[in-house]
Subunit: 240 residues, 2 copies
Amino acid sequence: MGDPVGSRGVVSRRRGVEKIVVVLSGGVDSATLLYDLHHRGHPLKCLSFDYGQRHRREIESARKLAESVECAHVAVDLTSLAPLLAHNSLSGRNCEIPEGHYAEESMKQTVVPNRNMIMLSIAIGWAIDLEFDAVAYGAHGGDHAIYPDCRPAFADAMSTVAGLCDWRSIALRRPFIDLDKGQIVRRGYELGVPFELTWTCYNGRQRHCGKCGACHERKEAFATQGLCDPVPYEEEAVEG
Amino acid sequence: MGDPVGSRGVVSRRRGVEKIVVVLSGGVDSATLLYDLHHRGHPLKCLSFDYGQRHRREIESARKLAESVECAHVAVDLTSLAPLLAHNSLSGRNCEIPEGHYAEESMKQTVVPNRNMIMLSIAIGWAIDLEFDAVAYGAHGGDHAIYPDCRPAFADAMSTVAGLCDWRSIALRRPFIDLDKGQIVRRGYELGVPFELTWTCYNGRQRHCGKCGACHERKEAFATQGLCDPVPYEEEAVEG
């Protein structure tokens, strides 16, 4: 396999090696991002967000993943924002998580208003305070048209604003932007990412539901690579 | 006096009258902004932030100001961010508030990393959730070179990103950008802003200290307009 991260220039802006705040959700993409940047020798600190999401157990996954590479990890409590961002099924409590693929209209319910800008703005603030060089996040080529703040134009505008918010410019790194989720899983497999620690499902139950858009996509990503997904799914429990 | 707000086009992008989330710190600028937009008939909701600032009593000022025009007001608890943004004298506890004018080097201690992007991103998220049209904040022409996120280039970049973060563009309004603080005080006086309710001082004691950069600027603004500042200052208490 090639070198997708290096080719995006993560270490190209050398002042030594970039020090990076990693936005770590605890899912497959950010777990692989963490391992990739760790593998390349970047000093890292990890940041997660509790915004009242149903699947807040992903934060515990993030903590374990950070611990597995001996990185500092902070989980920020943004639950006071939940009443402001209530009309969605991830952090709101008046609607159910829809089943099916991301492409379907109902998945628009899972858009948390301006989530990416809020998370990135806090990560950038921390990077400034730490005198770090960059913030990295796991946006990838498969990110979905239903999420307006996954669009490349949004990400480019965020990069511009991150360059202006302090006297010392903070870089935004999206090293997986040209990969699809299957390629990220492949990269993570090669890096030894402990995928059994990751959490993807939008429902925050004991096991992954296997039916929400996030689960569908995860299962497809492993399947296309011919790799085994180590997390248990609810359907398997029923079958067994 | 002219019509500085109208001339900046606050009501020009009519879908009816714009519904606006107002970032309300509880100081002179945002109080005047609230009264100005209320006077123009905009449906408004007000948003304040507790980020662990010493002068968090400004939030109580904001609440009273919103109440005085019968606007909904929400104060968001961001105190969990304080450890991430610790190396400043507003929310950090290991350094003192410097005395003197903004221009002085020591005032750089009062820069809270990326505060404006964090606040605006949350306000934008709420505006999306409310199906409002815009976010307004009280940036003005006198905002200081020591604050990188008060630069026009930063504000322009934020406007771009606010236009891309959702399918329905959110406008960022800075109607006072061409005014200095004296002109804002004058406008507030004409609108009947209850300045006795506002809070400016970076020290959060019983009275305004009169010595920090924020107090210096406030006193000068009233003085240049020949207006009386109704808030009591510590120095007066000593004198009396």
